[in-house]
Symmetry: C2
Subunit: 152 residues, 2 copies
């Protein structure tokens, strides 16, 4: 594994840890972390729809929030277990986050192509563990999943 | 004023009240409300970047959060004092919010055209009071404004 690939795998492991924690709490298993240009994790978090009754707390927005106020997002990376939905893709574009590392986009295809078109570096890892985690969750909790992505 | 225009003006008044409360707290003066299909306000809020040190709390996301979990957003309206940024536009698109009523888009042009292209009903009120509120704020706090929209 190249140094870059190993770095992405390390970051994804943080997001997966968050996703698993969320599932253990009875929630939606999507986790994310915002990583600084120096490779340090600035903030990490997971979906908290169920835990906090908060529909605005997606994995990516939770990680962004946990990182607190930043003067610039240039050079930062959002790593997430799942392709970012439009809400989270909009977050990445608005704040100028430079790179998105995506665990998988098989179970849900969000806005990562749109981000790539608008100059964000998108790395799609197609991680089998991430696919399995979401496949199992969607099978177990289809109504909760549809609620989380705004499907009537 | 038609019944519809009066209704939009009433909703905008709620968003403006939120924006003013935010400014009085030393924050970014952008407010919003999520209105149900029956015209009842489901949630209202304002930008809380300064107050809570929370960069994820835009007016629209605060209103969405305050409304709590909803099974469907069909027929709902997001009313906001300012054109929604990409982050907040993504929220509207992802959750299938049907209509966006925008106070003004002169001081900031966000994603409302994109939302219209994707089937969201967009109503631009071009309200002079909203324009003045943002013009005064941007003149007084340019660095804070740039931080809020991710401009380096």
């Amino acid at each position: 594994m190249s140094g870059t690939a190993a770095r992405y795998a390390d970051w994804l492991a943080v997001a997966v840890e968050e996703a698993r924690a969320g599932r253990a709490e009875g929630g939606v298993p999507i986790g994310a972390a915002l990583v600084g240009r120096d490779g340090r994790v600035l903030g990490r978090g997971h979906n908290r729809r169920v835990q906090d009754g908060d529909p605005s707390a997606h994995g990516e927005t939770a990680a962004f929030r946990a990182a607190g106020r930043q003067r610039s997002y240039t050079g930062t990376t959002m790593v997430t277990t799942l392709s970012p939905c439009w809400y989270c893709s909009g977050l990445v574009r608005q704040f100028g986050i430079s790179r998105v590392v995506v665990g998988e986009a098989r179970t849900f295809h969000g806005g990562h192509d749109w981000l790539a078109e608008h100059g964000v570096e998108v790395v799609l890892l197609d991680d089998p563990g991430c696919v399995r985690m979401m496949t199992d969750f969607i099978a177990a909790e289809p109504a909760l999943w549809n609620e989380d992505i705004g499907v009537d």
